[in-house]
Every structure is written in C-alpha cells, then in structure tokens.
C-alpha cells in the first residue's frame, strides 16, 4: 500500500502476519512510521494478498488481455461507505465496500477487475474488527473475482469519524459492443429485479437497535457481476441496469425514467417483498420502495428477451427470486407510476431528503 515507506528491497519475501500486537488503533498507526507499516501489512496487505499488491510500489501496475481488444472501454467508479453499525446481519462495511463498487461497474456492463481501498479509522477502533473487515473484503473480492490492488489508511482522532469509513474505487473493462445506458430504454421494455427489495435497509434499521425490533432479515449485500454477465449472454439487447442502493428501487427507476424520457409503470402485486421487511416498514412507517439494497438491481430488456433474461437470472443464487415488475411506457414521461393492489395509480417520486417515519 502506498503509505508504506520504501524498504529498498521491493522483491524480497516479507512476512506480513503477526506484527501488530496492540488491541486497538492509536494515532501512532497513522503516523507514517513503523506502527503504520505494521498495521497496513498485518491487517490489510496480508488479507488482500494478490500479485498486483505484492510489489508495494506507490501505485499498482496493471495488465489485462481484455484491455487490448479494439473498442474496449475502461470503466472507473468510486464510492464511500459509512454504514453504522459496522457489522450487521448479512455483512459488514468491508463486504459492502467491495460489493457496492463491483456492482457499480457491473451494472454498466463492465467486467470488474481491480479495486482500491482507502480506510479512515477512528482512534480506538479494535484491531480485531479491522481484521474482520479486511478478511470480509477479501472474501467479497474473491467472490466477485477482483483484486484489491492499492489502498491507503488514515487514523483520525476519536470523535472525528464513526469507527471506520471505507472508500473503494474500481476499474473494469467494458467489452467492445456493449452499450448499457439508461437513455436506451424504450416504451414496451420490461423492468426486472433480481430479488426481494429492502432487505439491506431493514436489516440495518433493526441492527441499529434503537427500535427494539428483532428480525431475521439479513442484508442482501452481494456482488452482481456474474448475474450481469449471465443476463448479457441471455438477453444481448439488455438496455440498462441500475443497482437499487440508496433511495431504493424508487430512486433507480426515477433516474431511468428521466434519462430515457419514458414513463415507467410498475405493479404493486408483482413487487417481491419479504413479509418481515413489510412488517418492519408497517411498524416504522417506512416505504420499502425507498429502502436501500446492496445486492438488488433493476434492469430493462426488450420484451422479447425478458423470458431469457429471467431464466438466466433465476439459474443463479443472487437471481433466484428474479421477477418482472413492470414496463416502460410512453405515458407520463419522466414519471414512475405504480398500479396499487386495487388498480389505483400512485406516483413513485424521488425521495425528498431522508425517509422520516410518520407520527401516527
């Protein structure tokens, strides 16, 4: 990692585990000296271990055959993660940080290859927690088939951060000919989601513990690049995909409606929702359409490829519950309208600010 000072022997085999003896992180671990090197080596580099990170230069140097294809495009994205609590049912900040960035690449049709990880640590954070987070990043990276090739750590005073913030950036390659773009959605195209909505948001709300709610719901946090590859293979004219993270499905659909200048009509009875998530929303006065997801995407395909896309998705664990939820239309361009249980219509607008529960 780049903060590590030059040892003068870049290719020498180095022992990376077991150097850090302390229980929690102090400001010294951000000071640029031996303590910092120990933290980086022992916690992060040893967990991420891959050929690109091994050289320990100030930058990762990358080669990939896909880059040589004429017409191939680089895809590049970045995202910061500040989730509280750091660990929650179904994942932790590390898993989310890897999955989130992998998914931002994947929904554009890119094959994710490399990630960076920058970590801001609040003084006093337990080293064991960092180890868990780093291991979880590695597991998610392995699952997605990406390498974490460069990174950075900073330690800030107690109170200046909430435990741990992680920023990941990702680079991927879009093979020649792929043009996933929200602007390409046309009236008649079918909207498909890969699974149930709102699990992440509901799991986080329950895990925060302010509500004395106990639920079995786990975050849906998962990499979706394999799913996207399967969809693209089965439905080559897939128009676009968006992961329904912050702001939930409602925000993703609104972005697409606006970009494409089409209306989007969804069917309330088709929306896949776990009874537990519906229950949490009923109790807290929230709308599951606006709850965050970390492993759920919505995509649009021409109607004659919808069945193929659904079948390809359902063959994978992350797409087992894939279902068509509606379609694009030429009515109400720029708006998302939901047909309610009773056949009435309801506009699903962008969320204004934070979703706040109603009084009664």
């Amino acid at each position: 990692m780049k903060d590590r000072p030059d040892t003068g022997a870049p290719n020498a085999p180095r022992r990376r585990g077991g150097k850090l003896q302390v229980k929690s992180v102090t400001l010294a671990h951000g000071g640029g000296g031996k303590a910092m090197r120990d933290l980086i080596d022992d916690v992060f580099v040893s967990a991420f271990d891959n050929p690109e990170i091994g050289d320990m230069e100030d930058q990762a140097r990358l080669m990939h055959a896909a880059l040589r294809e004429p017409g191939a495009q680089l895809a590049f994205t970045t995202d910061s993660f500040v989730v509280s609590p750091i660990e929650f049912p179904g994942g932790d900040i590390g898993k989310i940080a890897v999955c989130g960035t992998v998914n931002d690449l994947a929904v554009g049709g890119a094959i994710p290859l490399w990630l960076s990880a920058a970590v801001i640590i609040e003084e006093g954070t337990e080293v064991e927690l960092l180890r868990k987070v780093a291991r979880s990043m590695r597991r998610a990276a392995d699952e997605a088939g990406v390498h974490i090739v460069t990174g950075d750590t900073k330690v800030v005073e107690r109170g200046s951060a909430d435990g741990l913030f992680v920023t990941t950036s990702g680079v991927g390659v879009i093979p020649p000919g792929r043009k996933l773009n929200a602007g390409r959605v046309r009236p008649g195209d079918v909207a498909i989601v890969n699974g149930v909505l709102g699990d992440h948001g509901a799991a986080i709300l329950a895990a925060r513990g302010d509500m004395a709610l106990s639920t079995e719901v786990e975050s849906d946090c998962a990499p979706l690049n394999a799913l996207m590859e399967a969809v693209i293979a089965a439905a080559p004219d897939v128009r676009c995909a968006r992961d329904a993270t912050r702001g939930g499905l409602a925000s993703a659909l609104n972005e697409i409606a606006e970009a494409a200048g089409v209306g989007i009509e969804i069917d309330e009875t088709a929306l896949p929702l776990r009874p537990e998530v519906k229950g949490v929303c009923e109790i807290l006065g929230l709308d599951p359409l606006y709850l965050a997801n970390e492993g759920t995407l919505v995509l649009f395909v021409p109607s004659d490829q919808a069945e193929a896309a659904l079948a390809a998705m359902r063959a994978l664990e992350v797409g087992r519950d894939a279902v068509a939820i509606g379609r694009a239309t030429d009515r109400n361009p720029g708006s998302v309208v939901m047909t309610t249980l009773f056949g009435g219509g309801r506009i699903i607008d962008m969320l204004v600010g934070e979703q706040l529960p109603r009084i009664c």
Partner: protein, 383 residues
C-alpha cells in the same frame, strides 16, 4: 403479512366499490353535485393515497382531506421555539421523525441539527426519558405534538419521570385536541361536509361519546374508521347507508380497536398532566379556542415552557398560501396557486406540503399524475 393483508384484499375491495357505486346512485349525488366526506385524520389521508382509493371512487363522492396531520398544522412560531430550545447548550432535543422537517421562519429542526444542535428522532417519549436517564448531565426535551393519539404517551412519560424523580427531562407540550377542531370546521361559513370518516386512533383514547354533537347538533354522520383500505371503503359504505336512510349517527367501523368508552387509563393520565389552553394557533386555520393543551402547574418542573424561554412567537402564514381553504375542503390542493410550483415537498411553503400525511404532499407524491393533469386542465380553461 398476517393481520394486514386481510384488510387489503382486492376481491373484497371490489365488492365494496360496487356497493359504494350502488349506494351513491341512490343518494342522488352526481359529479356536479358530489357528496363531500372528510377524513379528519392524516393517517387516513396517507392510506387513501397510498392505495389510490380516491380515483377508484365514483365521481359523485369527493374526499376532503382534513386537519388531522399534527405536523401540518404546526405553526412556524412553535417550530422556531423548538429550534431555540434545541440550540440551548446542554440540551438533547427529541421528537418524532417527520416533525423534524417542518420549516420554521428560520429553518427546521433538521437544519438546526446540521448546524450542531443535538436533535434526535425517537419513536416514543419513553425513549427520550431513557436518554435522560443515561445522560444525567444533559437536559432532555421531548417535543410532544399530535392529537389524543400521542397525548397519553406524553402524559405517562411525565408521570414516569415524576415517579422516578428524573429532573433532567421536560416536555415541550404542543398537543392538540380533536373536538374543537371538528367544531371549527362545522362552524365555518363555507363548510360543505356531508359526513366524516372519524379518526380511529384518537377514538381509541377518547371513545365515541365526544362526537355525539356532530350528529345531534349538526345532523352529520360520523363513522370511526380503521386505517387499512378495506376499513376506509367500509366506512364510506356506512356513511352512504346513513345518508340513504336519512340518518345522522355516530357509528364505529373500527370496533376491533376502538371501545365505546375509550381508554380510561389514558384519559386519566391526560387529565392528570394536561389542562386546556385558552386558545391554540393552527397553521392554516388560525387561532381556535380550547384546541390545545398545556401542562398543569403541578408538573412545572417537567414543563419545557417553564424551563426555557419559549415566547410563543406568532408568525403569520405566507399570504399566498391557501392551506386553510384546502383544510376546510373549499379548494382542492391542486387549485392552490402555489401547488407543485412554488410549494413542493422539497421547499414547502404551506404546512400541508410538509408531511406525507398532508393532503398537498400526498397529492403531489401519490396522486401526482391525476393532480398534475387536473392542474393542467384548470390552467388551460383559465387561459
């Protein structure tokens, strides 16, 4: 989902819609001369829009979205008082979620929070009391608002604080009462309500007796209603049956929750802790006599109005704002000049655009397609 889906069954709903059509035809109401039913409670407004019920009703029935959104009727001066208390050093200011977004003359509680005030959302005043226990060096203020629905929990929390001798908890009491509000609407000269969809959760506390004057003196039916879509549809059926029969009675559709006599323990706590104010200033409706409560002098040591300098600043509603007319059912939200252009959920001018229970916000968010089309229609015919 158990105990919720049963009340949202589309097949049963269709049967109720058919019954509503049939009864409405018998009343002689028409699109030109529709029946006006007011749902007093914001919870009903929310359900009506969430399930798109309004556009499925016959043209001969119009729903008027009443004043029962406690956030919506909060005057700016009170929000300003809240912000002033929240900014006092050492204070943890707590309240319900959507109260945090109501604009005062100088920003909302959310804005104050971003500027450093310690403002926290709680789901119950008991959570605020727990904060007071855990932070004995801080003064924890709970901003209590709402009708009789939320009043008992505020009262019980004060009684609990007294019993435990928790000195660093206080209530900023801005609770309001439903009966004077309904009376003000009935007395308004431009009133045109033919029946009321009665508040369910308020009635769970106060029972049904307090509504009798509506039937006896004003000859209007009121049916206490639950909040699920089938509850609301059945309530409309019951109102129509009364009108067809020429009756004006107080009936209870929500009998699974609302007992005839209300909740004696809750009423007892309310009357121990609170007393009526001479008047209370409402956003959109102006000052209504005896429509709010304050804490009794015995509980002064838990009263934020005593502990802090709350000046009850009176700030007039913006002149062009027509929330009052919308509240009384004189105009529809989309007939207001500001609707959807100057006044939006992002930048609410009037109170009714603030909470998702407010009829303007509900129209804007849920019935937007229809409201925007109607507005465009109105503009074309005006030009």
């Amino acid at each position: 989902m158990k105990y919720a889906d049963e009340f949202r069954d589309p097949v049963l709903a269709r049967a109720l819609f058919a019954r509503i059509e049939e009864l409405a035809a018998k009343t002689g109401a028409s699109r030109e001369r529709p029946l006006h039913f007011m749902e007093v409670c914001g919870g009903h407004t929310h359900s009506i829009f969430r399930y798109g019920l309004e556009e499925l009703l016959p043209d001969s029935i119009e729903l008027v979205h009443g004043p029962g959104c406690p956030v919506c009727v909060l005057p700016m001066g009170i929000v300003d008082d809240c912000v002033a208390i929240a900014r006092t050093p050492g204070v943890i200011f707590t309240t319900y979620g959507d109260a945090m977004r109501v604009p005062g003359s100088n920003g909302s509680l959310l804005a104050a929070k971003s500027e450093g005030a310690d403002v926290r959302m709680v789901y119950s005043p008991l959570d605020a009391l727990e904060l007071a226990r855990r932070n004995p060096e801080r003064e924890v203020v709970f901003f209590g608002l709402g009708f009789e629905t939320t009043m008992p929990s505020s009262a019980f929390t004060v009684l609990e604080a007294e019993a435990e001798g928790i000195g660093n908890f206080s209530l900023f009491c801005n609770h309001i009462t439903i009966i004077p509000t309904i009376k003000a609407i009935l007395d308004s000269p431009d009133m045109r309500i033919d029946g009321f969809i009665g508040p369910g959760h308020v009635s769970m506390v106060i029972g049904q007796a307090p509504y009798r004057f509506i039937a006896e003196r004003y000859r209007r039916p009121l049916v206490v209603a639950g909040f699920e879509p089938l509850d609301i549809l059945q309530t409309i059926v019951m109102l129509l049956e009364q009108i067809v029969d020429g009756r004006a009675e107080i009936e209870n559709q929500y009998s699974r929750v609302v007992p005839e006599g209300g909740n004696a323990a809750a009423l007892g706590a309310i009357s121990r802790v609170f007393e009526l104010r001479e008047f209370f200033e409402w956003r959109g409706l102006g000052s209504l006599d005896h429509s709010g409560v304050r804490m009794r002098p015995e509980y002064a040591s838990f009263d934020a109005e005593v502990k802090f300098d709350t000046r009850n600043r009176r700030i007039a509603d913006p002149k062009s704002c027509q929330c009052g007319e919308v509240l009384k059912g004189v105009i529809k939200p989309w007939e207001c000049k500001l609707f959807g252009e100057v006044c939006t959920p992002e930048n609410p001018v009037g109170a009714l655009m603030v909470s998702s229970e407010g009829s303007c916000s509900a129209y804007y968010q849920y019935a937007g397609v229809r409201a925007r089309a109607l507005r465009a229609e109105a503009r074309i015919s005006a030009s």
